[in-house]
C-alpha cells in the first residue's frame, strides 16, 4: 500500500477548472512549473503560493486531496532544505559549530528552493486531480500531433501514457504482493550485506516482469476486442474545443507568470 503513487487520481467535480479544455490545463500547468524556477525572493514565493492556492480554490478541491498529493515529496524537500541550509554560504553567519555553519543565505535558500517546488507540485496536482486520464491523453495527443505528421507515433505515445496512469496502481499492488509472498518464503529483503540485498531483488524483479507480461497480454486482448486500431478512424465522446473560458484562463496564467518574473526584478 505504501507504494501507491498519486498519479491518476482524478477527483470528479464540475468546477470552472474541471471544465477547462485539457490542452489549456496542460499548457498552463507546464508553464507554471517552469515559471516556478524564477522564484528567488520571499515576495515572489508568497505570490506563487497565493496563485497556487487560488487555483486550488477555483478547482473546488478539498485541501486534504492537494496535501495528499504533496506528501510524498515532503521527505525529498526536507533533505533538499537541509543540504541548502548547511552548504549554502553567504551573508551573516547565524550558527557555527565545528564543520557545521548556517548562514542567512543558507536559510534563504533552504526556504525558497524547497517551497517553490511546492508550487510546482501543486500546479501538477491540480492538473491531475481535475483532468481524467482520457482527457490528458487527448491533450498529449494534440500536443504530439506535429510528431505524428513527421510519421512518429504521437497518438500511440499518448495512449501509452494513459495506460501507464491506469496500471501504476495495479502494478504497485502486485509489487507489494510479490514482496510479501517472498518475505513469507524467507527471502532476505532489505537485510544483510549489499550484495545479498541485491541478489534478493532478482526474484522480485523476475516475478514482477512475468506478471507485467501477463497484464500486457490481457490488455492487448482487451484493446483488440474493443477494436482499438490507433488514432485513425477514432471519434471522441467529448471532442476538444477551446472556448472563451480557455483563452481567458491562458491570459490569466500568462499575466500571472509575467507578474511573478517582474516581481523578482522590481525588488
Amino acid at each position: 500500500m505504501a507504494l501507491r503513487l498519486t498519479l491518476g487520481q482524478y477527483y470528479p467535480g464540475g468546477s470552472l477548472v474541471h471544465r477547462l479544455d485539457p490542452r489549456t490545463k496542460l499548457a498552463c500547468s507546464l508553464a507554471c512549473t517552469l515559471a516556478v524556477f524564477f522564484i528567488g525572493t520571499p515576495p515572489q514565493l508568497a505570490f506563487g503560493l497565493a496563485g497556487a492556492l487560488a487555483a486550488t480554490a477555483l478547482a473546488q478541491l478539498p485541501a486534504r486531496k492537494v496535501i495528499a498529493s504533496i506528501r510524498p515529496l515532503v521527505a525529498v524537500l526536507l533533505v533538499l532544505s537541509l543540504f541548502n541550509l548547511l552548504f549554502v554560504r553567504g551573508g551573516e553567519t547565524l550558527l557555527s559549530w565545528r564543520f557545521l555553519t548556517v548562514t542567512t543565505a543558507g536559510v534563504h535558500a533552504a526556504l525558497i528552493f524547497s517551497m517553490r517546488l511546492v508550487v510546482a507540485v501543486m500546479a501538477m496536482a491540480i492538473l491531475l486531480l481535475t483532468t481524467t486520464p482520457m482527457q490528458l491523453t487527448d491533450a498529449f495527443d494534440a500536443f504530439l500531433e506535429p510528431l505524428a505528421r513527421l510519421g512518429l507515433p504521437g497518438h500511440e505515445l499518448a495512449m501509452v501514457f494513459s495506460l501507464m496512469l491506469r496500471f501504476i496502481p495495479t502494478l504497485a499492488d502486485e509489487t507489494q504482493a510479490i514482496l510479501d509472498a517472498q518475505s513469507m518464503r524467507g527471502a532476505a529483503l532489505g537485510e544483510g550485506s549489499p550484495a545479498r540485498r541485491l541478489r534478493s531483488v532478482v526474484p522480485v524483479l523476475v516475478a514482477l516482469l512475468a506478471s507485467s507480461i501477463h497484464h500486457a497480454e490481457g490488455l492487448s486482448r482487451a484493446l483488440d476486442a474493443r477494436c482499438y486500431a490507433g488514432g485513425a478512424g477514432r471519434s471522441h465522446w467529448h471532442p476538444l474545443r477551446m472556448t472563451g473560458r480557455d483563452w481567458l484562463a491562458l491570459a490569466v496564467v500568462a499575466s500571472w507568470i509575467f507578474a511573478l518574473i517582474l516581481l523578482g526584478h522590481a525588488l
Binding site: 500500500m1 482520457m134 509472498a181 524467507g186 512475468a210 474493443r226 477494436c227 486500431a229
Partner: protein, 594 residues
C-alpha cells in the same frame, strides 16, 4: 435449432496450433445461431478460451473455414483481414480478469472507449454509455474510479464497455471466475437480460449450475468438441463428464445418488422437477418427529481446550492509513477476536471488502494491528525479533499464487523457501521431493513453471510453500479460477496436509467448501458476524443474516430446507450432498413403510 434462423458463426473443420506444437483446436465444427445462448464447458487447457477468441474474431485458425456474421473470414486456412476487420466491429468479448480489460480510470470513459474506436458520433456515444451502464446496473458509478470497485462491479463495467459497441454476439470467457457469490449472481442477471434483448451470448464457465440457463451446451476436450446438446442431454453423460474433469449440476448429482439408493425419482437437471418428485415420494409420511435434529454431528473437538492455540487474536482493530481517496483512515477490521486450536481447519467467509484478506495478513505478521494483540504459534507478532521466529513456520498461499512463480525450473522455484531458511542442500532436496509428491508434480522438476497448465501452476506455487513444512498454512481463496477437477485436487491436498497435523486457515467464496471445515468464521463489513462449528453457523435461523452479508447456505442445506417447506419429513439438516441423499432416502422409505 429451428430452420431458417440466421447463423452468426460457422466453423468448419477448424484447427489451431500454438507455438511448441500445442494443438489448441483440433478439427472443430460448430455453428451458432442468432439469439442463441451457448455455453462452453471444459477443463483447464481444453481449448475453451481459444475457441472464444476464434468466435469473436481475435484469433485466426490455421486450418478450416470460418464465417462470422456473414463475413467469410477464413477460407481453407487463408485469412481475409479486411473481412475480419468488418466482422470484429460487431463481436464483443469479456474475459476473466476485469483489471486487464479496463483501460481508463473513469467508468463512463471506459464504456465510451469502444464506441470511440468505432468512430461513433459523440451524441450517440453519450446515449450508449448511459443505456449500457443502466442495463448493467452501474449507472450510479458512472464517474467512479474502476480500481476502487469490487470485482463484480468491475466485471459489469467491462460488460457495459463491450455492449456499448452494440455487438451482435457477446463472448464471455469465464466472467465469474474471479468473483464472489454476489458478483457472479449479478453477472448472471445481466446475461439473462441480454438474452431477452436478442443478443447472441457465448458463455464459457467452470460452474456447471450456470450452464443450466443456456440453450445449448458444448463440452471441450483436448481441442475437440466432446459433447454437445441441451443442458439436460449433456449432463446425462455423468460418467463421461467426470472423465473430462467436470461434474453434473447439484440437482443431477442428487438425482443420480437417490436412484442408486433405490428411490424412484427421475434423473433430471431441473431443480423444481426433482424437488416435486421427492415431495411426491415422501407424501403420507407421519407427523414430524423431533424436527430440527441434526444428523451425524460427530462429537469432535471435545478435547479442544487442552490443545495449544495456533492463532489467537484479541480485540484486533486495523485501518489502512494511506487510503488513496479519503486521505483519512479506512477501517478494515474492528474488534475482531479469534482463536484457532492447533490442528484445526478454519474457513473464513465474507463478501468482498469484509476484511478477510486483511485478517490473513495480520495472522501472517505482514501487518500489525492498530490495537489488540495477535499471537501466532505462541509468538506475539508485534515484537519484531520474535516475528523472525515465525519465518518458515507460517505458510501463506496468496490469491493466485501462480502469478508469483519466477524461477527457471519447478525444482528451483519450490526450493526457494527451504534454501532461504538456510537448510543443507540434501534436506532442501528431500523437502522439495516431498512437496512435489504431495501436490502430484513429481517428474516435472525440470520443466519451466510457465509451461505448466493453470491447475499445475497453482499446485507448483503451493508446493513452494509446503516445502517449508509450515505448522500453520494460510490460504487466500486457493480454488479461485480453477476447474472442478482442480478444485477437487486442492481440497484433497488440504485434507492430506491437515492429516499431518498442520493447522489450516483459508478464505473461501464457496459455502459448500466452508461447511467441510472444523470451524467457520463469518466476517461482514469489518466485523465478526458469527463464529463456530459449521452446523451452528449454517442453519435455518442464520439464513437471513448470511444473505444480508452477501453469503448463502451450502447447497445441500438449502435443498433440505426447501424440501422441508414442501412437507418432506427430513430428520436431519445435512451439510453434505451424501448426507442429504441419505436423509431424503430415509424420509421417503419411512413413507412407504407406513
Amino acid at each position: 435449432m429451428p430452420m431458417g434462423t440466421p447463423l452468426v458463426a460457422e466453423l468448419s473443420h477448424v484447427s489451431l496450433v500454438y507455438e511448441g506444437d500445442v494443438r489448441a483446436l483440433d478439427d472443430v465444427s460448430l455453428t451458432v445461431a442468432e439469439g442463441e445462448r451457448l455455453c462452453i464447458l471444459g477443463a483447464n487447457g481444453s481449448g475453451k478460451s481459444t475457441l472464444a477468441s476464434v468466435l469473436c474474431g481475435l484469433l485466426a485458425p490455421d486450418e478450416g473455414d470460418v464465417t462470422l456474421l456473414g463475413e467469410r473470414v477464413l477460407a481453407g486456412g487463408k485469412v481475409d483481414f479486411a473481412a475480419y476487420g468488418r466482422a470484429r466491429r460487431r463481436l464483443g468479448l469479456v474475459f476473466q480478469n476485469p483489471d486487464d480489460q479496463i483501460v481508463t480510470s473513469v467508468v463512463e470513459e471506459d464504456v465510451a472507449f469502444g464506441p470511440e474506436n468505432l468512430g461513433v458520433t459523440p451524441q450517440e456515444i453519450g446515449q450508449r454509455v448511459e443505456q449500457e451502464l443502466r442495463r448493467t446496473a452501474m449507472g450510479e458509478f458512472a464517474k467512479a474510479d474502476p480500481t476502487r470497485l469490487s470485482g463484480g462491479q468491475k466485471q459489469r463495467v467491462a460488460i457495459a464497455g463491450a455492449l456499448a459497441m452494440h455487438p451482435r454476439v457477446l463472448v464471455l470467457d469465464e466472467p465469474g471466475a474471479l468473483l464472489d457469490v454476489r458478483g457472479r449472481r449479478s453477472v448472471m442477471r445481466v446475461m439473462a437480460r441480454l438474452k431477452e434483448s436478442g443478443t447472441t451470448v457465448v458463455h464459457i464457465t467452470h460452474f456447471m449450475e450456470e450452464a443450466l440457463a443456456a440453450d445449448r451446451v458444448i463440452v471441450m476436450r483436448a481441442g475437440r468438441v466432446a459433447l454437445s446438446g441441451t443442458p439436460a442431454e449433456v449432463f446425462s453423460h455423468s460418467g463421461e463428464l467426470r472423465s473430462l474433469g467436470l461434474h453434473e449440476p447439484f440437482a443431477a448429482r442428487l438425482a443420480g445418488r437417490l436412484q442408486e439408493l433405490g428411490l424412484g425419482v427421475p434423473w433430471t437437471t431441473d431443480e423444481e422437477e426433482l424437488a416435486q418428485a421427492i415431495s411426491h415420494l415422501a407424501e403420507g409420511v407421519g407427523p414430524k418427529r423431533g424436527a430440527g435434529g441434526r444428523e451425524e454431528a460427530p462429537p469432535r473437538a471435545a478435547a479442544a481446550d487442552e490443545r495449544p492455540l495456533a492463532v489467537e487474536l484479541r480485540e484486533v482493530c486495523y485501518s489502512y492509513q494511506e487510503d488513496r481517496r479519503s486521505a483519512q483512515a479506512r477501517r478494515a477490521l474492528e474488534d475482531v477476536s479469534l482463536c484457532i486450536a492447533a490442528g484445526d481447519s478454519l474457513a473464513i467467509v465474507g463478501q468482498t471488502g469484509s476484511g478477510k484478506s486483511t485478517l490473513l495478513r495480520l495472522v501472517c505478521g505482514l501487518e500489525l494491528p492498530d490495537s489488540g494483540s495477535v499471537r501466532v504459534l505462541g509468538v506475539n507478532t508485534a515484537r519484531r525479533r520474535e516475528r523472525r521466529l515465525l519465518r518458515g513456520r507460517v505458510g501463506y498461499v496468496m490469491q493466485h499464487p501462480e502469478r508469483q512463480l519466477f524461477a527457471e525450473t519447478v525444482a528451483l522455484d519450490v526450493a526457494f523457501g527451504p534454501t532461504n531458511l538456510g537448510l543443507p542442500a540434501d534436506e532442501v532436496e528431500r523437502r522439495c521431493q516431498r512437496a512435489l509428491e504431495l501436490v502430484g508434480l513429481l517428474g516435472k522438476e525440470g520443466c519451466s513453471p510457465f509451461e505448466l497448465s493453470g491447475g499445475q501452476q497453482r499446485m507448483c506455487a503451493i508446493a513452494g510453500i509446503l516445502a517449508m513444512q509450515p505448522e500453520l498454512l494460510v490460504l487466500d481463496e486457493p480454488m479461485a479460477g480453477l476447474d472442478p477437477l482442480g478444485r477437487e485436487r486442492v481440497a484433497e491436498l488440504l485434507g492430506r496436509i491437515k492429516g499431518r497435523g498442520c493447522t489450516i486457515v483459508q478464505v473461501t467464496h464457496s459455502m459448500d467448501g466452508a461447511a467441510l471445515a472444523d470451524r467457520v468464521f463469518v466476517l461482514d463489513r469489518t466485523r465478526v458476524l458469527a463464529e463456530g462449528r459449521p452446523e451452528d453457523i449454517f442453519c435455518a435461523e442464520n439464513e437471513d443474516a448470511l444473505h444480508d452479508a452477501g453469503l448463502g447456505l451450502p447447497t445441500p442445506l438449502a435443498w433440505a430446507l426447501a424440501l422441508r417447506d414442501r412437507g418432506v419429513n427430513l430428520q436431519a439438516l445435512p451439510l453434505t450432498a451424501e448426507g442429504l441423499a441419505r436423509a431424503i432416502a430415509r424420509a421417503c422409505q419411512a413413507g412407504e413403510v407406513r
